[in-house]
Symmetry: C2
Subunit: 146 residues, 2 copies
């Protein structure tokens, strides 16, 4: 039995393939990154701001500095684990659902809700300008109180 096998068994035992996800992304699975990853990926799709994630981490008893939260969110985004959303200009939101989907945004509450990727269809796209290609299309359906 090699060291590598032992490592794999240990990872499976403590239920944490999060370590492995981080390692694959070239990120050391530090205490802080694991804590944030657990909050982010431990329970379905989420939309978080840096401040929210920071306070959740503190609430859960892990000390993580706000600067580290920002670093981590950007590292995760670069690694493709998160997608950054430009929704309201004031602050950045990060979405744990990186697949193709869109959003309702409640302008008064600041609440953000996923719209499944297959429900909205965008037709009639004009040709992108020369020398460019479409990276992706963001659709934000803005809501107000009735």
């Amino acid at each position: 039995m090699t060291d590598k096998m032992v490592l794999e068994i240990k990872d499976v035992e403590n239920g944490s393939e999060l370590s492995e996800r981080l390692r694959v992304a070239g990120l050391r699975p530090t205490r802080q990154r694991l804590a944030l990853a657990t909050l982010l990926f431990g329970s379905g799709d989420r939309h978080v701001s840096a401040e929210l994630l920071h306070s959740e981490a503190l609430d859960s008893g892990e000390h993580v500095s706000l600067a580290t939260v920002y670093n981590t969110l950007h590292q995760f985004t670069q690694a493709g684990l998160l997608r950054e959303l430009a929704i309201d200009g004031a602050k950045a939101y990060f979405d744990t659902n990186t697949s193709n989907h869109n959003h309702f945004f409640h302008e008064q509450d600041g609440e953000l809700i996923d719209i499944p990727g297959n429900s909205i269809r965008v037709d009639g796209l004009p040709q992108p300008p020369d020398g460019t290609r479409i990276s992706h299309i963001d659709v934000v359906v803005r809501l107000v109180k009735k």
Copy 2:
């Protein structure tokens, strides 16, 4: 001939129905607002940031403080003369085209290009959550270099 008539004739003479647009919106046509309105609405559709508009105003020889530029952009937005865009989170953009249309956004250059309102069609919108109605739908087609 009444005072009112004199005023109307003067407005027509200097070619400025901008004064009237501001008055209708409940905004006094001050020197600063007229200068900004001229820059904004004097030449086709535009996308501006506060800082860009401020420096254009200074370049044109009109002194306007940055705070007034912000005030004015928000007042114009509230009056329906502008639409605010949440494109890249870092700063706010204001669009002089308030009709229904969408945007190409070149992520690397930060360039913003209008897509005519009638070319894109969005289908398959789910029902908005209870107690809310759709205010409007923003479609941003994000571009990267080929």
